[in-house]
């Protein structure tokens, strides 16, 4: 019997574009014993543009649960937040958002 090898999947330009614009990366801030609550609220407001209520909610999430997903963004924007938050002394990781 004759067999046929399936062609390898080819990533098209449209798929790449879609991936670049897909908000598929979570930005996670982790708890640490040194950064103060007030300071963390300040950083969330300055860097992420949160209002105080939202910033406080996420800060308490970090404080009580050890971490908080503060944004789900495109890869580029997530990397930007990662660097900005870390430049302010917070501990940050990124993870794929698997819905």
């Amino acid at each position: 019997m004759e067999t046929e090898t399936l062609p390898a999947p080819v990533e098209t330009t449209s798929e790449k574009v879609e991936e670049a614009f897909e908000k598929s990366w979570n930005v996670i801030v982790w708890n640490d014993p040194v950064n103060q609550m007030t300071y963390v609220v300040f950083v969330f407001m300055r860097v992420l543009g949160f209002n105080k209520q939202k910033a406080t909610k996420h800060m308490l999430d970090v404080h009580n649960n050890g971490k908080s997903i503060v944004a789900t963004e495109t890869r580029e924007k997530a990397e930007f937040y990662h660097q900005q938050l870390q430049a302010h002394g917070l501990t940050v990781t990124l993870e794929p958002n698997e819905k």
């Binding site: 014993p33 950064n35 660097q83 501990t91």
Partner: protein, 164 residues
């Protein structure tokens, strides 16, 4: 006394910012230049190196302001040392002071246990170096809260709302 303290802090942070990331004390580098996020983002070795360099540039961008503030606090007879800040300066100041807190804590292994010290006898159990580091962390925390409370945006008053 406050001016002496701030001068010492500014001098220390200037020294640290002038070091390349690989020259910073390893425990401090683990906090300031942690690449945990780069690993989680699956960045390549070269991308990670570039990322650390960019982070270092963000820190050193505050160097000229730091030097200006230190000059302002230079000892002058018959004058009370005074620092005046624009709002933008104050945002940078808060971040720089927090960096110093993180540095002291990392370098002298100040963790949760030490951060919860509330009594003098507990404090006296620490070595003199760790005691000084903890003092810096606490004192600068108080200064940061005071500056944030003065800035527009109401950054400093959340605890009253949270507990009210």
């Amino acid at each position: 006394m406050e001016a002496d303290f701030m001068r010492r802090v500014f001098a220390s942070i200037i020294r640290q910012y002038q070091l390349k990331p690989e020259e910073v004390h390893p425990r401090v580098a683990q906090v300031w230049y942690s690449t945990r996020g780069c690993q989680s983002a699956q960045l390549s070795e070269e991308q990670t190196r570039e990322w650390v360099e960019n982070l270092h540039s963000l820190k050193t961008a505050n160097l000229s302001a730091l030097k200006r503030w230190r000059r302002t606090l230079a000892p002058q007879s018959k004058h009370v040392a005074e620092l005046a800040f624009s709002d933008e300066d104050a945002y940078a100041l808060v971040t720089v002071l927090n960096d110093h807190r993180l540095m002291c804590a990392a370098r002298h292994e100040i963790g949760e246990e030490e951060m919860n010290i509330r009594t003098l006898p507990q404090m006296e159990e620490l070595s003199p170096r760790r005691r000084t580091a903890l003092f810096d962390v606490i004192a600068l925390g108080t200064i940061i809260e005071a500056v944030l409370a003065l800035l527009p945006g109401g950054y400093g008053d959340w605890p009253m709302h949270a507990t009210g």
